[in-house]
């Protein structure tokens, strides 16, 4: 691998990367939209600018191949912008290939190693597009010369030597012009012929000529010029500029100096006219030469080396679109953006989390003190302070959360390209719609959500959508529609992947599961349609005879669901045969801090995320029904299956007591424990001393009180029996240490206000476990 060197320090490169990544991301997201939205001016302008800026900065650090590629892309975008080119599928394909190339080139800046990627076909393709559209592909200026600079050689590339020929031969004048010059000379002023030679391959001849004429008119009077100012402004120029200029004798020096300091000038000469040289019959060649020799000749090398500008072609479309110049910002306030390292955002979250725990602690201590000391000034003061701390912490927490929230757009933007490529490979026609990309969610969730969504999308395209012929035969439009949408629901974000394809057939799924030995025929017969559809989440299930390489490296829907549950979310399916399927993924807005219901179990406290809690219940053991070996109760006309949470978590009757706690079988009245200002919403009987720890299910005295938390995931509901209900509070989710890894059923742990550790239940996976067990029973 060839090593690369860039004209930038490591710090420079950090800044470069931050900016380059912005441009590349924009190109990745927006280029694909060109096919449909090419008349959207701001879209095209944005794309053009991104390529333009990237071209500039890559040239700045000496990344020639990147500068070349972005230059080629910019040329195409420029033509689209001017309406000279309409982006066809092929053109967009070439541009997308270019964008892919940019990613590889960007990597090179990071690794300092040249990659094998060969960009010349891409660049050539783009160049062809430009030329076919009637444009001229201007070559990039060559690399700037190395620090030493490159003198073009004193008087090197000069045009024809200015001293040959008489003045009138070098610059023919009309009779009336000659008269004008004579008249000026007679009035006592001087008139010179100024000849300026520019670097012939300079790409800036028009402007330099313009500059020259402009500046010269300040030090003398221009009687005639070639090219004329009109020609200069129309960019009809060459490497030579001639001007008949009048002024006082002293002006000569100023004139020469003015001409010489213009960049790109390689040669100037200033020759005075005399009345003799203007006589009607041109003087003999010798005389002319003599004249010339007396003139002030400054075969100067320019004071500065001209840009090592490479070759030839002057760009033909140099007129910028009219609209670019006219838009003036109407806002009088400049919006400042700050770039923050994402790691810093993460680091912000930790102290805030700790503060929340401490706030809870403070509140609890205040309460405790009040109980013990009764009314007391210090207690009042502590209360007030702890409440204030509570408010500030809330505010801080909210702000930090808000800073961490990002629109899901950054995830969604990858998908149009993916869908397009995948559909193309599989021969399917897809209309891809995205809705709600401004929906925000926490950064930590954003990073992990794209994998599951990609799988769902792949699934929809590969298995969901039919081939165009099949769709036509079914009376559907040839193009299948896939809709990816996101929206907020309470404290959650919901992401839906919907297709109008063939839908899922419960009967077929059952048959497939039976043949794969995932379930027995008897179980299949018992199964309702909804359960049948969820079979796709069973491990080892896949209806495709072989997994196509596009549909994932053998990753099944079970992994998809597991990943979603790892994010404390869950996924549900709605489907109709022949009509389509919709996957709904529900995720908490943030993984860091949640409201939870605390319950007592086996002598310890456990937390159940409030998001899953429907209500808490307390009833007598006699109300429990038994339906086909499973326990349930009737709740407002519905059947709520009952499960012992202790059994579900496979806990012994009593866990090892926390330090400092008496080893008692039944949980003490644990009133006030972390019950913060938010206690008791929908909660009954806080801290009831009667618990159910030692009694086996189904073996209870009839009047035994039972405490149940009714939870819901999707449309599955369940009652989780616990020993006691403690209270509702806000908790900071801490992950299980990496030594423990993933423990199914447990979403993490938290530290309560009293310093105890509580385990957070992963309700979706627990419910799944119940469903599986009951199914296979």
């Amino acid at each position: 691998m060839a090593q690369m060197q860039f004209d930038a320090t490591e710090d420079d490169i950090k800044v470069w990367l931050a900016e380059a990544d912005e441009q590349i991301e924009l190109l990745q997201n927006d280029v694909i939209r060109l096919e449909k939205d090419y008349s959207d001016e701001s879209l095209v302008q944005g794309i053009f600018r991104a390529a333009h800026t990237l071209k500039g900065s890559s040239a700045m650090i000496g990344h020639t191949r990147m500068a070349e590629l972005t230059h080629a892309m910019e040329s195409v975008f420029g033509m689209v912008r001017e309406g000279k080119l309409t982006p066809t599928t092929e053109i967009v394909d070439s541009l997308l290939a270019g964008v892919d190339g940019l990613n590889a080139l960007r990597e090179e800046v990071v690794t300092k190693e040249q990659s094998d990627v060969d960009l010349s076909p891409s660049v050539a393709a783009l160049r062809d597009i430009v030329e076919q559209g009637g444009g001229t592909f201007a070559r990039m200026p060559g690399q700037p010369p190395a620090a030493g600079g490159q003198e073009p050689g004193a008087g090197g590339q000069a045009g024809p030597a200015p001293t040959t020929g008489s003045l009138l031969e070098r610059f023919p004048l009309e009779p009336d012009e000659i008269e004008a010059v004579k008249a000026t000379l007679e009035s006592g002023a001087m008139v010179w012929l100024l000849e300026v030679d520019f670097q012939p391959d300079s790409l800036w001849l028009a402007v330099r000529s313009f500059q020259s004429l402009n500046d010269l008119s300040n030090v003398g009077e221009l009687l005639k010029t070639k090219p004329t100012s009109e020609e200069v402004e129309a960019e009809k120029v060459g490497p030579k500029l001639q001007a008949v200029i009048a002024g006082a004798a002293e002006a000569a020096e100023a004139i020469t100096k003015t001409a010489v300091v213009i960049e790109d000038v390689v040669n100037t000469s200033l020759t005075p006219y005399t009345l003799e040289s203007l006589s009607p019959s041109p003087a003999a060649a010798g005389e002319g030469r003599g004249e010339g020799a007396q003139g002030e000749d400054h075969p100067h090398p320019s004071p500065l080396p001209p840009a090592g500008e490479g070759t030839e072609l002057i760009p033909s479309q140099t007129k910028p679109p009219a609209e670019a110049g006219q838009r003036v910002a109407t806002a009088s306030r400049v919006v400042q953006n700050v770039r923050v390292d994402v790691e810093r955002l993460d680091n912000l979250m930790n102290p805030v989390g700790e503060l929340v725990i401490d706030r809870n602690r403070l509140q609890q201590l205040a309460l405790q003190l009040e109980t013990e000391l009764g009314a007391h000034d210090a207690v009042d003061a502590l209360n007030e302070t702890s409440q204030h701390v509570g408010r500030i912490t809330d505010e801080l927490q909210e702000e930090v959360m808000r800073i961490r929230m990002q629109p899901i757009e950054s995830v969604f933007n990858k998908f149009p390209r993916l869908v397009r490529d995948l559909a193309g490979k599989l021969g399917k026609k897809v209309d891809f719609i995205i809705e709600g990309k401004e929906t925000e969610l926490d950064r930590s969730v954003i990073e992990k959500i794209d994998d599951p969504i990609i799988h769902l999308l792949r699934n929809a395209i590969d298995h969901g959508l039919e081939m165009p012929e099949e769709r036509r035969a079914a009376g559907k439009p040839e193009s299948g529609t896939i809709k990816l949408s996101a929206w907020h629901e309470e404290n959650h974000i919901v992401i839906a992947v919907q297709d109008d394809g063939r839908g899922m057939d419960p009967a077929k799924l059952k048959a497939s599961a039976v043949s794969k030995k995932i379930i027995t025929q008897e179980v299949a017969d018992r199964m309702d349609d909804r359960a049948a559809v969820e079979l796709i989440f069973a491990a080892g299930f896949s209806t495709a005879a072989k997994t196509t390489d596009v549909s994932g490296r053998g990753v099944g829907m079970d992994i998809v669901r597991a990943n979603i549950e790892k994010l404390s979310g869950f996924v549900t399916i709605e489907t109709a045969v022949g009509r389509g399927t919709r996957f709904l993924v529900k995720l908490p807005l943030t993984l860091a801090i949640i409201r939870a219901l605390l319950v007592a179990l086996a002598g310890r406290k456990f937390a159940i995320p409030m998001a899953t809690v429907m209500e808490t219940l307390r009833f007598d053991a006699q109300d429990v029904r038994t339906i086909k070996t499973h326990e349930a109760i009737q709740l407002r006309g519905r059947i709520l299956p009952l499960v012992s949470l202790r059994d579900l978590l496979r806990l012994p009757a009593l866990l090892y007591p926390a330090p400092g706690e008496p080893a008692s079988a039944s949980p003490e009245d644990e009133d006030g424990d972390a019950a913060s200002n938010g206690a008791s919403q929908g909660m009954r009987d806080v801290g009831d001393a009667e618990g159910d720890s030692m009694m086996e299910m189904g073996n209870r005295p009839r009047r035994q009180k039972m405490f149940v938390v009714a939870v819901r995931v999707g449309d599955r509901q369940m009652g989780l029996q616990v020993d006691a209900l403690v209270g509702e509070t806000e908790i900071v989710i801490k992950p299980l240490s990496r030594f423990l890894g993933d423990v199914r059923g447990i979403a993490g742990v938290t530290i309560l206000g009293d310093g105890q550790v509580a385990i957070i239940c992963d309700i979706p996976s627990l419910i799944n476990r119940v469903v599986q067990e009951q199914l296979l029973a």
Binding site: T53, S57, A138, V207, Q211, E233, V261, Q317, P320, R327
Partner: protein, 118 residues
């Protein structure tokens, strides 16, 4: 210490230009768009301005005119990439004294700045 106002919406360009100038003994003020440039010009009264010609919202030409309104003697050189000759000519007509090409060569920038300040 001569003060130069560097205006460019591309952070990397701005940074490189500033570094080059400060390494060579100039004071540098940065602005990232036209509005900011006008505000900074009023605030810091630089001796010269390097003004990028293609910026979003308010482009360089408009910014140039606004700066010249604030200070008719303002010494401004436009910074431009390839292919913008007529824009430069317009800029010169509106009072720009010179122009510098991107990607810039250090000695050219320094020469242009020296020339601007005079």
């Amino acid at each position: 210490m001569a003060k130069i106002l560097v205006v460019d919406d591309a952070a990397f360009m701005r940074m490189r230009c500033s570094k080059l100038l400060t390494d060579n003994g100039y004071d540098v003020v940065e602005a990232e768009n036209g509005l900011d440039a006008i505000a900074k010009y009023k605030e810091t009264k630089p001796d010269a301005v390097l003004l990028d010609i293609t910026m979003p919202e308010m482009d360089g030409l408009t910014a140039l005119k606004e700066i010249r309104k604030v200070d008719p003697e303002a010494k401004v050189a436009m910074v431009t990439a390839m292919g913008q000759q007529s824009m430069i000519m317009d800029a010169i007509k509106s009072g720009a004294k010179d122009f510098v090409v991107k990607p810039f060569q250090p000695d050219r920038v320094l020469a242009a700045v020296k020339k601007l300040i005079g």
